[in-house]
Subunit: 186 residues, 2 copies
């Protein structure tokens, strides 16, 4: 996805996804909520009354992906909203000021050459569908919201991917991370 599209993720009492679990991996947790609603724009203020939390992000251009990697991703990445993908995860992440001060080549080297972020993700395609939302320039509390969708049979593979990423050098720059697991309502 290269074009900009704003999405708003609202934790509260309603929405298409039931929140099964919400864990603070690093730093502060999010307030408790039973459901997640996703809006493809700014929801009206009415929709947000009495909600527990609101996070926003935009799809945007690639920051680290190189041409050969982009070609492989385009060839095998699945779309969102596959009927069998009834489980999902929303993982909001904030990186440290030290990370953002690094020049582009140093961030790329940590991200891929040393942490293999793209390579790891490719290994779990097409099982795990993924979309990245950027919040840094919006001034949001999280720099990234990553949304994943998968079938129940791939839940273990997804867990492996998440654990592998958390062991990387890249993750030493993460200063806040929340991990939400969700199930689609019938």
């Amino acid at each position: 996805v290269s074009s900009r599209m704003l999405s708003t993720f609202v934790g509260g009492r309603s929405g298409q996804w039931r929140i099964e679990r919400s864990s603070a991996v690093v730093g502060l947790a999010l307030p408790t909520a039973s459901h997640l609603a996703i809006f493809e724009n700014e929801p009206g203020t009415r929709a947000l009354e009495q909600e527990s939390w609101v996070l926003r992000g935009v799809t945007s251009y690639e920051r680290y992906v190189h041409a050969t990697e982009q070609a492989r991703l385009i060839a095998i990445q699945p779309p969102l909203q596959r009927p069998q993908a009834t489980q999902a995860a929303l993982i909001p992440v904030k990186k440290s000021a030290d990370w953002w001060r690094l020049p582009q080549d140093r961030r790329r080297a940590i991200f891929e050459e040393r942490s293999q972020h793209i390579t790891l993700g490719l290994r779990y395609l097409p099982a795990i569908a993924r979309r990245l939302y950027h919040g840094h320039d919006l001034g949001e509390p999280f720099d990234f919201l990553t949304w994943f969708e998968y079938a129940p049979a791939d839940a273990e593979a997804f867990e492996e991917l998440v654990q592998a990423l958390r062991r990387t050098e890249e993750w030493t720059y993460v200063e806040r991370e929340v991990d939400l697991r969700l199930t689609k309502r019938a």
Copy 2:
């Protein structure tokens, strides 16, 4: 500048900078205004009544600068608001969807290896002070607002820099560009 700071540029009847000239280089012009006011946040709605145009951008992390280039930039780039820098330019630029679809390495290659954007800029330091604001992820009409400050004696050098950038391969991806020239009010 790596931390995020929102600025709002307002063209209207008041402000610290007098607009001497506003040209549409590519695409649509901006509405006429006599002065520019800059707010380091979101101005209240009252401040915007009867204004001609409003553009927003955020300072953000580096998208293309490598470590060696960053070190040279930090060593010689001047601060904004030098007393002798009574002239300024604001150059809003929007790039095409083709640009934004390119992977990171292809954009870097066009930006620096083939167009020498960073190298050209370094040649005019410390005469020309510069700050880049990002508008892409905000959904602004321009992807970038670049702000330049210089002394009257360096106006010709600045003109050279701008003309050199416009002849690059990078600039073939520019689909809208406005060039505003300003003088500081006494």
